[in-house]
């Protein structure tokens, strides 16, 4: 998991925790998540210094998080800033608003990107 870390990125911790969560899934839970989301995401995250880190979240085939571009091809590629990703994950910003205000740029199946919200916030209170 340590190689998921990229220095100078807040979202690094977020990604690692996501990965930890994934690795701790039981097969049934994993299957459940894969079934629900069924997509491969690639996050191109830029920090304040302008450097870019790429992580991929595979919730289609293997249910894993890794650094670098998605393989096979991502269903949706999301480009956003480090800060935006943090805000999205903490729920301070919602995906639609971020998209509309240009904080998020996507390539591919945009609607799949909305499901990522649920991935990051696996511990959401329920109505």
């Amino acid at each position: 998991m340590s190689d998921l870390k990229v220095d100078g990125f807040q979202s690094s911790a977020l990604i690692s925790s996501l990965s930890t969560a994934f690795t701790n899934y039981s097969p049934a839970e994993k299957a459940e998540q894969l079934k629900k989301v069924n997509g491969i995401f690639q996050l191109n995250v830029k920090n304040d210094q302008g450097t870019e880190a790429i992580w991929s979240i595979d919730l289609k085939k293997n249910g894993e998080v890794y650094k670098g571009p998605a393989k096979p091809k991502a269903d949706v590629t999301i480009s956003l800033s480090d800060e935006t990703l943090g805000q999205l994950a903490s729920g301070k910003l919602n995906g639609q608003k971020a998209f509309m205000t240009g904080k998020i740029k996507t390539k591919g199946n945009i609607m799949l990107a909305t499901k990522l919200d649920g991935v990051f916030k696996a511990t959401k209170s329920k109505l």
Partner: protein
């Protein structure tokens, strides 16, 4: 890291290390040319097991550098082959080189001047003749030291695509066909062109040879004979033209050309083909298997990807399917095993179709299960227990009002008990039956909320719209909105449906009415969109009408919790739990709020109590609770 180690292994290991060879090969761009200048000295050639060649003189290397640097500036100019080779062996290399370059430039500019042509011809026409002996002189040692031949090749071959400029030269100056010099020149150009091609082929072959040592000997000898052939060809052509050496006409040129074509020298095309075949064979044998296999696999992957992704996940589970309006296709409710994964369900079903629902005991069948369940729910009894009663009731055909009541109640009970998927299935069935019974709208709100919890936004929107139209048939909903459900994105449908509900709420408000259900629907809509503050307002106004609705308290708490106010949420959950102590979902939510606050230990305690609540009756617990409990423990561990 490891890659670096692979390629930078010791030199002696090189022949055994394919990666190293690949690297060398990619470097060949430059090294190839350097070899030609510096002869056997280059590092690449030292890879050859057969190379017993003498070490390069630094002089040669300097020469090579000079050549490359000098040529950069005059890329368009052609370099008369012989002159370079002559100069190169001379003592005062640099000066003559520059002078030569300048002269070439002048030649280039003044190509119309006949005088120059004569001079040029004098110089160039000697080239092949002089080279002839040079070659034959070299051929002796060459057989033992193949690389020795290389230096003599440089001038002929030229770099930077000298062939092209020369070709253009010839084409751009048609008048050349009228003078002997030009004719000679073109002839030579053609001959050289071929020679040059062959040289490149030879260079490639040599590069390939460095990959496969056993073939080296064969390669080199083959190359040598070929070069000789070409020289002979040119020599012959020159002799012919010089013997005729009379009027400078096109016809003359053609004749010579034809003669060249039909000359006894072996046709170069054949050689090229031969070389190509050999080269291909070599390359294939060297790396064919690996690379071809990878490529094939990649293609296969790309192919399968383009067809709607993977038919199966790693777990052999088919992805959840949705209908055109985003409603998930879940399949039928499975009795007695609400929270078990589908694979497990199947196994249990085959072993024991009825499972151990104690209420399925025939002796108790005289009572109405449905009424029992309702009473149990009324008395704050165990939710799991009530759910079992309801399942039994349904299986015995005691479906209650309109044939859907039990289903919807079961769904709602399951949801309260933190078993979302089972609840969703039961509610789907209930909603379907309610619609069939002409009482559309029942259970839809609960189902919409269930979808929301599972992040199925579009399904939630669809369901809310259906609820709206069933509940308020008089309220005008734009046709466009209804159509949009099928094709538009969930963002668009959200905007449209929120609009409709807001209009409804406003019209109700103007009549002095406040429908809590509409408020709940609005709250759910805001909630899906992450507008937790507005969702909170909606649930609060609904609570002002129904202060004892524990579901509403939980929803209020949930909005607060997800809106980054978990501390305030705890108050709302407490209300819900004081109204309904066995409300598993509220217990779960308290745990989540604690987790978000950072009180991991407390969170774990709440999850455990939720599990205990489920376990004490049916022994059947919810995956969601276990999963979140694990998260809590992980959070504790990472501190």
């Amino acid at each position: 890291m490891s890659f670096q180690a692979l390629i930078s292994g010791s030199e002696c290991a090189a022949p055994a290390n394919p990666l190293n060879q690949v690297l060398k090969h990619t470097e060949a761009d430059r090294s190839l040319q350097q070899d030609r200048v510096a002869g056997p000295s280059s590092s690449r050639l030292q890879q050859l097991p057969s190379s017993s060649a003498p070490a390069a003189s630094s002089h040669d290397l300097a020469l090579a550098r000079q050549f490359f640097e000098g040529n950069n500036g005059v890329s368009g100019a052609f370099v008369p082959p012989l002159e370079i080779s002559r100069e190169m062996s001379g003592p005062n290399m640099h000066d003559t080189w520059i002078a030569e370059q300048q002269r070439n430039m002048q030649h280039f500019e003044a190509n119309k001047m006949q005088a120059h042509w004569a001079a040029e011809f004098d110089a160039t026409s000697k080239a092949p003749q002089n080279q002839g002996p040079a070659h034959s002189a070299q051929l002796g040692p060459v057989s033992s030291e193949p690389q020795q031949l290389m230096p003599s090749h440089i001038p002929q071959t030229g770099f930077y695509g000298n062939y092209m400029p020369r070709g253009m030269y010839a084409m751009g100056a048609p008048q050349m066909f009228q003078d002997f010099g030009a004719q000679q020149f073109v002839d030579q150009g053609k001959g050289k062109g071929k020679l040059r091609e062959i040289d490149f082929e030879a260079a490639f072959a040599q590069a390939a040879a460095s990959l496969s040592s056993p073939l080296v000997e064969k390669q080199d000898t083959a190359r040598i004979t070929e070069v000789k052939d070409d020289v002979a060809e040119i020599e012959q052509a020159l002799k012919d033209t010089q013997l005729d050496g009379e009027p400078q006409t096109n016809a003359e040129f053609r004749r010579v050309w034809e003669h060249l074509q039909n000359s006894d020298a072996p046709p170069p095309e054949e050689d090229l083909a031969k070389w190509e075949a050999e080269f291909n064979q070599l390359m294939n044998s060297e790396r064919g298997d690996d690379f071809d296999y990878d490529y094939g696999r990649d293609m296969e992957e790309a192919w399968s990807n383009s067809f709607g992704g993977y038919p199966e996940t790693a777990f052999g589970d088919t992805p959840l399917k949705y209908d055109s309006e985003g409603i998930p296709i879940l399949g039928d409710y499975v009795f007695g095993m609400s929270s078990i994964g589908p694979i497990l369900q199947l196994r249990i079903l085959t072993i024991n179709p009825e499972t151990d629902n104690k209420y399925m005991d025939p002796s108790t069948s005289s009572r109405s299960m449905l009424n029992d369940a309702k009473a149990l729910l009324e008395q704050n009894g165990s939710l799991s227990e009530a759910a079992l009663l309801l399942e039994a009731a349904i299986q015995q055909g005691d479906l209650g009002e309109g044939g859907y009541e039990a289903w919807i109640l079961l769904g709602e009970t399951r949801n309260m008990d933190e078993r979302e998927e089972a609840g969703m299935r039961a509610l789907t069935e209930g909603v379907r039956r309610a619609e069939e019974a002409g009482n559309a709208g029942e259970g839809m709100m609960s189902l919409a909320i269930s979808y929301t919890n599972e992040s199925m936004d579009k399904a939630s929107h669809t369901m809310l719209l259906r609820w709206l139209r069933a509940r308020f048939p008089d309220f005008p909903v734009p046709e466009e909105t209804i159509q949009a459900m099928k094709t538009h994105s969930s963002w668009d449908t959200h905007t449209r449906i929120s609009e409709s509900f807001l209009n409804l709420a406003r019209s109700q408000h103007s009549q002095g009415v406040m429908d809590p259900d509409v408020q709940v629907a609005l709250g759910v809509l805001f909630y899906t969109n992450g507008e937790y503050d507005r969702a909170k307002d909606c649930f609060e106004s609904a609570l002002s009408v129904r202060p004892n609705d524990y579901l509403l308290w939980n929803r209020l708490g949930s909005s607060l919790s997800n809106g980054s106010k978990p501390e305030e949420a705890l108050g709302a959950y407490r209300e819900a739990l004081s109204l309904r102590p066995t409300y598993t979902r509220a217990v779960y939510n308290v745990g989540v709020a604690c987790l978000n606050i950072g009180a991991h230990k407390e969170a774990a305690e709440h999850f455990l109590s939720g599990l205990a609540l489920q376990e004490q009756t049916s022994g059947d617990t919810s995956d969601q609770l276990w999963f979140t409990l694990r998260r809590a423990f992980l959070a504790m561990a990472s501190r």
